[in-house]
């Protein structure tokens, strides 16, 4: 009891005090947890190369950057260093080859760049600390996870990838309970042609499909 009262008072004072602090808080700008704005631009362009939007949504629509950003301060903390070092290496390579930032390159040019990166053919000088094809594979994998994983992890906004595959989500799936007589449609034949069986439940007979 005592401790909860103390907690309460502490919380109240925090609450009223915080109102004064609000102007200080409102300076908080970045939407990213890990990336800098510049890094984010590189990753967004990279991911869009992996899964470009066509008639279906692509990496940017699926917010893959948000997925990677979120995981890098969560389960993927161990990959932070790879990204911190790998992104500048991409940018330096792009500067050297094209005198432009990676995200400013034309789509085809970016594709060519990434083919080189996968094969480990970008200028060695920038890739002393990070393995370029290793980093390529890591980002490829993370992009795929962001695109196909559950939106709760930050990507696959509104299950865009499932929609592309015509896979319903949320899953349209009812209970076992009702088997409407009027709706009894022959099911695709089961191996022994036994599609349903009557079983006796307490007080009633229900039909169960071996569905």
């Amino acid at each position: 009891m005592n401790s909860t009262r103390r907690d309460f008072i502490r919380q109240i004072s925090l609450a009223s005090g915080s109102i004064m602090f609000i102007p200080a808080c409102s300076g908080y700008g970045s939407v990213w947890r890990f990336f800098t704005e510049a890094e984010a631009k590189t990753v967004i362009a990279f991911a869009e190369q992996i899964i470009p939007a066509d008639k279906d949504p692509g990496a940017t629509d699926a917010n893959i950057i948000n997925f990677i950003d979120k995981q890098l301060v969560g389960p993927y903390t161990r990959f932070q260093e790879m990204y911190r070092k790998g992104i500048p290496a991409i940018e330096n390579s792009a500067q050297k080859l094209f005198q432009k930032a990676f995200h400013e390159l034309g789509f085809e040019v970016q594709t060519g760049f990434m083919v080189q990166m996968e094969k480990g053919e970008l200028p060695e000088e920038f890739w002393q600390e990070t393995n370029q094809s290793g980093f390529f594979r890591l980002m490829l994998d993370h992009a795929m996870q962001g695109f196909y994983g559950s939106p709760r992890h930050g990507g696959n906004t509104n299950y865009v990838s499932y929609k592309m595959m015509k896979l319903d989500y949320p899953h349209v799936m009812g209970q076992n309970r009702y088997v409407s007589k009027c709706a009894q449609q022959p099911l695709p034949a089961s191996p022994q042609g036994r599609e349903k069986e009557l079983i006796n439940a307490p007080g009633q007979t229900i039909e169960i499909y071996y569905s």
Binding site: Q11, V172, Q175, Y178, P186
Partner: protein, 360 residues
Amino acid sequence: MKNNIFRNVIILLLILFVVLIVFGGSYTYWNAANPEKTCASCHEISPSHQTWASSAHSQITCFKCHGTALSNGLHSFSEKANMVFTHVKSAPHRDEIRMSEEQILETMQRCKGCHENEYSNWIASGHSASYSHIFLDEKHNATEQLNFDCLRCHGMFYAGTTYDLVEPISVEGPWKMKDESRADLATIPCMACHKIHSRGMPSVRPDYANPGYIFYGRVVQNNSIGLYVRNEEIHFDLANLPTPVILNDTDTVQTPNDPVYRLCVQCHAPSVRHQAGSSDDKTPTGVHEGISCRACHEPHSNFQRNSCDKCHGDKSKNCKLDVRTMNTTYISPESPNNIHRVACQDCHDDGRNSSKSVKQ
């Protein structure tokens, strides 16, 4: 000695007075000022605030709806304090901000203030079923065992699991709520199907008097409708809900174009083989194929809005049926005239005019 006490009391009162002024002042300001200066200045909820600002509800200030958090009283104080506390302690990202079930239910009480009609329709319907209603239903529980997935449609905002809610999890019963205080809470509150913060103005209601408008080519979008998906803890807009493939034997059923159908079918869903009429599915086949749920059901009450009379009022047309005296039950799967399924050949041999006696 006595003097001392007196002085102490005075000092205490003074401190209290100052605290009250400061606290009360900022508190009044907090509740009354433009949200941009108060609530929304908190970066965590700024996206939510932005959608609100462009929504039909933008004239209604935060505290009018967010009852528990922004009303006065001890409970709300501690709740607010808690938010600030978590904010300072763990700085949750804006993606992670959620309302608790308690807050959702409280907010619903505020919806009622303006949306009286919808609310009274809802309260009178099956959609307002309480936890005890759903989870202590003996007939149901004896046939379909309670399971984790129940909460997908009933109790989507509940933080626990079905196993925390009811015992025993068996088909034998007798069942009871583990926490009696949950018994009367609503399992499908407004926010199950509505997003309060949603961009844009409400859609123009379809012309229900014209059934054609409802079943063909209806593309009207209503941004405020969306299913709350428990697994993901977010709303899915109508546009993002899938249109399921429904089969009538091997034929594909023409499902209603009305996007709201996609919402209904989420819970009124067929079993895995997606056969029309299996499990809880009510997708119309037969003569009513393609008709939107909303053509006959008022969505909040689920009542048959106009019953059959609406289209079949004129006895000289439509098969010369007197639909007012027909048995058009649909709840019972045994009904001979299940209106979701009824087909020409149910009444007509070889689907033509040699009418069989109309089943009663």
